[in-house]
Symmetry: C2
Subunit: 170 residues, 2 copies
Amino acid sequence: MPSKPAAPITIDAVYAAPGYLFRRMQQIAVSIFMEECKAFDLTPVQYAALIAIHTHPGIDATRLSAVIAFDRSTLGSVIERLQAKDYIERKPAPEDKRIKLLYLTKSGAAILREIIPAVERAQGRMLEPLKPGDRKALMGLLTQLVDLNNEASRVPLRAEDALEHLGKGG
Amino acid sequence: MPSKPAAPITIDAVYAAPGYLFRRMQQIAVSIFMEECKAFDLTPVQYAALIAIHTHPGIDATRLSAVIAFDRSTLGSVIERLQAKDYIERKPAPEDKRIKLLYLTKSGAAILREIIPAVERAQGRMLEPLKPGDRKALMGLLTQLVDLNNEASRVPLRAEDALEHLGKGG
DNA sequence: TGTTGATTGACAGTATACTGACGATCTGGG
DNA sequence: CCCAGATCGTCAGTATACTGTCAATCAACA
């Protein structure tokens, strides 16, 4: 079979391109998340940060950025906002003056418990239009693809490596 | 079968959530795009805008935002940057003083032709880790999902509706 | 015709996201 | 102990992305 002729330069080619679909799906996902969680005033990224700090108390910002695949420079402002809302606190590490350790406050742990159902509703809604079997298939393929492409984007450490010193290995 | 017990509040739940995977895949897609296209100094969004203007010469900003599923308020700065690079020009519409019509310049049309191969390389690389059959399956499911979820995010007009007045119906 | 309501482009404000750079600090080799 | 290199948090600069608002303009109806 001959290779397809060069596609015409047209917006329709964009609609069928993976990059466009990923951007669009990310927009939709954020939109659904914000809708379900608007009572809590937490963004998806702030939520992920809270969960990660809850899972790894005393983590520092650089390792946190690896755990949630989040740029180190952006993380500073996210942490600031979470701190301003009194959901986390930062304590200097005694043995290394560069590092500030992150912990959930009581408020932070509380809001996390409260927001979980809304987050799960949101995650469910994102896939709702698909048939159950297709949802599974899509998640499987996406998980695979993200895993195999992991090093394509700037994430300084793999999550597992980042956490070695915390002694949380499973 | 009993419903699963409530998942523990853990970062692992985030890794398996659709929202996380979509965000991650979008990061990866942008990263690959920028890598392949770094010689051209064009972002994915700027590229999509150029293609759309090429496909619909004389489109206005509001309709353009619908065509590429792009927020109207953000589009202003994107247009400014494309104009600063001399890739597009804006002409006032004679019959409606509110509207400015968008056209590609010669430079814009030229860079579009040149960048296409790099863009196609990038799109290919995003899916490369999957087996060919899985690529097709993923694209099919994603296309379906984005289409069915289209109204979940703030896109004021469906692309087809937005273009009625341009008489480009196929 | 005059006024109401919708539309357009623009702007302010907030929140990701990335590059590149910086000072403070730690670590290892000599 | 001293210094070179690495790491940490931070910052400046740029580019999306969204909400909400505004003045100018247009369209439609009383």
